[in-house]
């Protein structure tokens, strides 16, 4: 029993952040058909802006004031949204006529740029970063400590998924879906396609910012390239696993990747096996297993 609960707790801890990042990736993909490699760094940059609000500068220490943290989150989310729009206007829109792989590469270049600017401004060292709720509680059956921070992430994830689900029922949401499925027809129906795409990028930036603020809290540390290095690839894997065309699917996929990694690590630890890279084996196996049976992911529909 303890084994199962430990796996679930560790899996959800990482998986919830994967899911948040995966939601942002899926949002951009749905609206524009672009695989956004900059999604992680939207989060790290926004978290650094949040850090500046908390610390009141570049080189000071972050305060533990929770009121300040709320203010920092609001600023970070706004900055994340602006960053998303900027990337769309400055880079992605200009590549509209190029092949999608060019856009993918361009977002990867944006990631390099953002990460190296962080190093230039904040130096390549870790900064202490506060959590929204400190401490945790002991799960009685499993002998495992659950931090309140994990619960907070899951709550945010649920809230975000619910509000996105509601959004896609509104006229704006439907216009966004129309943009994604058939831009030309949507344009004929009077949908401002360019604006809808900008909204999707803004949403992805804001989501990334939330992920960044919560992700930095996971390690209680913030360092350059954090969200890309620790969360981006699992998040991508999750998005594809769950079905990148479906927002709920992407979130579920992120959680599944988290659980898979945790399970692989727990099995190897419990049985004391000497296998290099258990998470990588498990993730590849699950990804292949799911995609070979359902090529558009767990919850994805064939478009």
């Amino acid at each position: 029993m303890g084994f199962v609960f430990r796996t679930i707790v560790f899996g959800l801890q990482a998986g919830a952040i994967y899911a948040l990042v995966a939601l942002g990736i899926a949002l951009v993909y749905k609206a524009t058909g672009i695989l956004n490699f900059a999604q992680g760094e939207f989060g790290t940059v926004a978290a650094y802006v949040g850090f500046m609000v908390l610390a009141g500068g570049v080189s000071a220490e972050a305060t533990d004031s929770k009121g300040r943290l709320v203010l920092a989150t609001i600023v970070a989310v706004l900055v994340g949204a602006v960053l998303g729009v900027l990337v769309n206007v400055v880079v992605i829109r200009r590549l509209a006529s190029a092949s999608p792989v060019t856009s993918l590469v361009a977002t990867a270049a944006v990631t390099t740029l953002l990460a190296s600017v962080q190093v230039i401004i904040f130096e390549a060292r870790a900064r202490r970063f506060p959590r929204y709720v400190d401490g945790g509680f002991e799960l009685p059956i499993a002998n495992v400590n659950v931090s309140w921070h994990t619960i907070a992430i899951l709550v945010v994830l649920g809230g975000v998924a619910a509000s996105l689900a509601v959004f896609f029922r509104t006229p704006y949401g439907i216009a966004l879906l129309a943009t994604a499925q058939e831009p030309f027809a949507a344009e004929l129906q009077g949908v401002p396609v360019g604006l809808m795409r900008t909204i999707a990028w803004a949403g992805a930036g804001a989501l990334g910012a939330l992920g960044g603020m919560l992700g930095a809290g996971v390690f209680a540390n913030l360092q350059p390239g954090l969200m890309t290095g620790s969360f981006l690839i699992p998040a991508f894997t999750g998005a594809v696993l769950g079905g990148i065309g479906s927002l709920v699917g992407s979130a579920v996929g992120g959680l599944v990747v988290g659980l898979t990694v945790a399970l692989a690590n727990q099995v190897v630890r419990t049985l004391d096996l000497d296998i290099p890279g258990p998470p990588q084996i498990a993730v590849l196996a699950v990804l292949l297993g799911v995609l070979l049976v359902r090529p558009s992911g767990l919850l994805g529909n064939r478009v």
């Binding site: 880079v91 944006v110 390099t112 600017v117 690839i233 594809v240």
Partner: protein
């Protein structure tokens, strides 16, 4: 000047000029190992490795329209296979290349089988997971790769000298370019490119999609395996840390920046990415005037990223698009052709699954 067939034929003077420029370029390349300081000779070998990797990527990204973000796995497989053959099996140096080419092909065919079922970005993501699996699991099996300590890959006596090894690598690049040229000129090459444009149309012409897709993966894997063997013997030691995801991403970057679909463009893209870090460093050390004073160690990645973005924004077709006129002229065509803008080619990652 147009010949009776309607094809452009350069004038005798034009012919001489083209031969002259091509000859000069070849002489310049051959003189490189003598011209630059000896500490940098190995960077030339590395540039050759990257050029071969770029040509390998090009077969998938440029010709077939499949995106690979796991090529570091093929490079690693080739490198370790060569190291194992030379160091553990005590076989001659060139056997290492043979085994590397075969294992590279094997590794690529496994991925190709997946590609038969998945397309576009779904495949791209599987290649990432494949690359990570190769790095963390396969390359850490101590018995075949030496684990963290690494695997030796000593050069034979004849190639002990770094400059000689660089010439050896140049020779391989020339052979690979010739292979690539023949590949695109054959029926198989045309079939592969037809897959990129539209699989269904290709199938309706009687092209066996599965067979040619696998063939493209095999060709790409063989080239990348050979590149791995070249790579292994530059430093004469290989370790698992050399083959991370960022290397795979660099490979995709250099292919796109070079201009997917154009062999001369992607080869230059590879060379550029191999030498750029050293070039920026040297520029900063030697020129104390305005733009170069901006370069500091921490600024290098940012500068490289901005250059990359500017290139992509203004020339989505990459280096091949920038040099379209020049490349056409050098291949005995007119300088200004009827195709004024080479359209960027390749890449089907956005194709909806």
């Amino acid at each position: 000047m147009l010949a009776s067939s309607g094809r452009f034929v350069p004038s005798p003077q034009g012919r001489i000029a083209r031969f002259g420029v091509l000859g000069l370029l070849i002489v310049l390349v051959l003189a490189m190992p003598q011209l630059i300081p000896e500490v940098y000779t190995n960077i030339l070998s590395r540039a050759a490795v990257y050029a071969v990797v770029a040509l390998s990527m090009n077969i998938l990204v440029g010709y077939t329209g499949q995106v690979s973000l796991g090529h570091s796995a093929f490079l690693g497989v080739g490198a370790f296979a060569s190291g194992y053959t030379i160091t553990e099996l005590h076989l001659p140096f060139l056997f290492g290349f043979l085994v590397a080419a075969l294992t590279g092909a094997l590794a690529a065919v496994l991925l190709g089988l997946v590609a038969l079922r998945l397309a576009g970005l779904y495949l791209a993501l599987v290649t990432i997971a494949y690359g990570q699996f190769a790095q963390e699991t396969i390359f850490n099996i101590r018995e075949i790769t030496g684990g963290g300590a690494g695997m030796g890959a000593a050069r034979p006596e004849l190639l002990r000298d770094n400059a000689r090894y660089a010439y050896f690598c140049f020779l391989i690049v020339a052979l690979v370019l010739a292979f690539d040229w023949r590949l695109t000129a054959t029926r198989a090459g045309r079939a592969i490119q037809a897959l990129r444009d539209d699989e269904r149309v290709a199938a309706s012409w009687g092209i066996d999609i599965a067979r040619y897709k696998l063939l493209a993966f095999v060709a790409s894997g063989v080239l990348c395996g050979i590149a791995g063997a070249m790579f292994a013997s530059i430093e004469e030691i290989v370790s698992p840390q050399d083959f991370g995801f960022s290397l795979s991403l660099t490979f995709l970057l250099m292919t796109v920046v070079g201009g997917a679909g154009n062999r001369w463009g992607v080869a230059q893209g590879g060379i550029l990415f191999a030498v750029l870090p050293t070039l920026l460093e040297r520029a900063h050390e030697n020129f104390h005037v305005f733009p170069f004073t901006l370069i500091r160690a921490t600024w290098e990645p940012a500068i490289a990223a901005v250059l990359l973005l500017l290139t992509l924004i203004f020339y989505p077709g990459g280096i091949a698009q920038q040099q379209a006129h020049l490349l056409r002229w050098l291949s005995f065509g007119p300088f200004k052709g009827e195709h004024h803008d080479e359209k960027p080619r390749g890449g089907a990652v956005g194709a909806r699954p």
